[in-house]
Symmetry: C2
Subunit: 308 residues, 2 copies
């Protein structure tokens, strides 16, 4: 059988032009060539295929042979494939299509899915993957390029990242409503330090913040810590009376509103921090990533839980 390797798009385009104009001269005009050039292309194709592709028509003009009609069909299919490819690439260039991996810290999982859902509605041809991990894991993923854009609290010194604040992020200490410190106007530092703290594992942003906070108000005084792997577990533990915990208010909005947890009026609380969106300094953002970035910067505030 004749080999596919000898076929060129020029040949197919020549066939198409001849089919439409019924003349080599006309085809040449369409293609911006001279008739001999078109003729050569057709001849070359006929050589490869081992059969005629065009022939003189009944009265006048050139018409496709049955084989030529098959070639024309193929040409049309090829054309569609290539056009579709170009369109998709074009969409990519404009940031309307592509794939973006979004990494968020555990705490953000209470609002990030809502952002992603809205994002997918707005930019339907961008495939967004949401990865959740603790602060350390997300940063590591950012370095390894397995995450393109991240959302977390305070951006790190290392690795070097580009970051932008996107909204307030209050941190509170929560206790069960029947806790003895609950409802007090002012809770003394020592009273706080006496409690058992339920905290996330090392590498968690909340854990780091908590340690620094307790060291500051307690001036280095020791305190007791119980470690748990997820915010959800911590909430349940606090409700169950195992201890108190520093936690993102966004994580416990529902429980505070329902009265299943209360925020303690300990010194400096709530700590008003910010949410940041960030990406690795070295990573050249694709248009799709830029679209996602912009969307997050402009719209994420709508998704932060609030007590009111």
């Amino acid at each position: 059988m004749s080999d596919i390797a000898g076929i060129t798009l020029k040949q197919l385009r020549a066939v198409d032009a001849v089919a439409r104009t019924h003349s080599i001269t006309g085809a040449a005009r369409e293609l911006g060539l001279t008739p001999p050039a078109v003729h050569t292309q057709l001849k070359g194709l006929e050589d490869v295929l081992g059969c005629r592709v065009v022939a003189k028509g009944e009265k006048s003009g050139m018409v496709l042979t049955p084989e030529g009609e098959l070639v024309l069909q193929a040409q049309r299919a090829v054309d569609v494939s290539l056009k579709s490819c170009l369109n998709q690439i074009d969409a990519m260039k404009k940031g309307l299509a592509g794939r973006v991996v979004l990494g968020v810290v555990s705490t953000a999982k209470y609002f990030a899915p809502a952002i992603v859902a809205e994002l997918k509605k707005t930019l339907e041809n961008i495939e967004v993957q949401l990865n959740v991990g603790n602060r350390g894991e997300v940063l590591q993923a950012l370095v390894e390029r397995s995450v393109d854009i991240a959302i977390m609290g305070r951006p790190p010194r290392q690795p070097a990242v580009v970051s932008k604040p996107i909204g307030m992020h209050p941190m509170v200490i929560v206790a069960p409503p029947d806790h003895r410190l609950a409802g007090l106007d002012r809770v003394a530092p020592d009273a706080v330090l006496d409690q058992t703290f339920i905290a996330r594992e090392e590498g968690s942003g909340t854990r780091i913040l908590m340690v620094r906070y307790l060291d500051r108000i307690g001036e280095g005084k020791p305190y007791e810590t119980v470690e748990m792997g997820s915010n959800e577990t911590i909430k349940q533990a606090v409700i169950a009376g195992l201890g108190i915990a520093m936690i993102s208010q966004h994580t416990v909005t529902e429980e505070l509103r329902a009265g299943r947890l209360v925020a303690l009026n300990a010194p400096e609380l709530p700590i008003e921090r910010q949410w940041y969106v960030l990406h690795h300094e070295k990573l050249e953002l694709t248009p799709a990533m830029r679209s996602v970035w912009r969307f997050i910067v402009e719209n994420s505030h709508r998704f932060f839980p609030s007590l009111e």
Copy 2:
């Protein structure tokens, strides 16, 4: 948007090879080229598309960019289109696919459809069109190339055709069973000439044959003719007692067997003629036509009606 006109199959094939080997050198080996050649092709494509298509992979080797993946998809689609086209053309070359117009004289319509049906079962990718006309019309169509292959009695002197006999074709004179000449061992020429003849129109092969037969046995004596446009009408007319008719035995097999018509034992009857398959001498047969020709020559005998 980047223009489709700048894309070549060489470029697509280069992308494909790189995708499979993860290296320009490897791709070059696959394509029987040197690495710079492949590199140039990729560069050219990237110019047209306005974006990178391949890039150095994480560790080593070359990988496709997301845009490159789209190009690869397109390449695969193009490949199947072209392969399918080549396969179809190949089938055409082998006479396994194509389009053939078969022209048959009216008389042959009593067995031609059966041939076509069997033909389509055997050569399922050949599209067969069956056209029915009288002898003159079929010959005209043969000249005009609107019929590729024809089946009829005696091939004409003009136009020049290639012909081959495919089976016996007895002509008889039929009468109603209660006709006074019916059942006689030997019917005299004069008794025949006295009858009213129901005949097809001018241009019909049967008509020509009848005229020559009657002139021969009657030595020029006149006779009476009534003209009717189809064999079916003639049969009904004879059954109704309007007259007698010379007709192909194949046309009246059913009626003879059932006794609704009888063949007269007039001189020289039945006239043993042949069926012929034929095509215009000037027309180069396509492989598909050759397949059909061969099928008819080898198989048509199975479809002739017989009295036994």
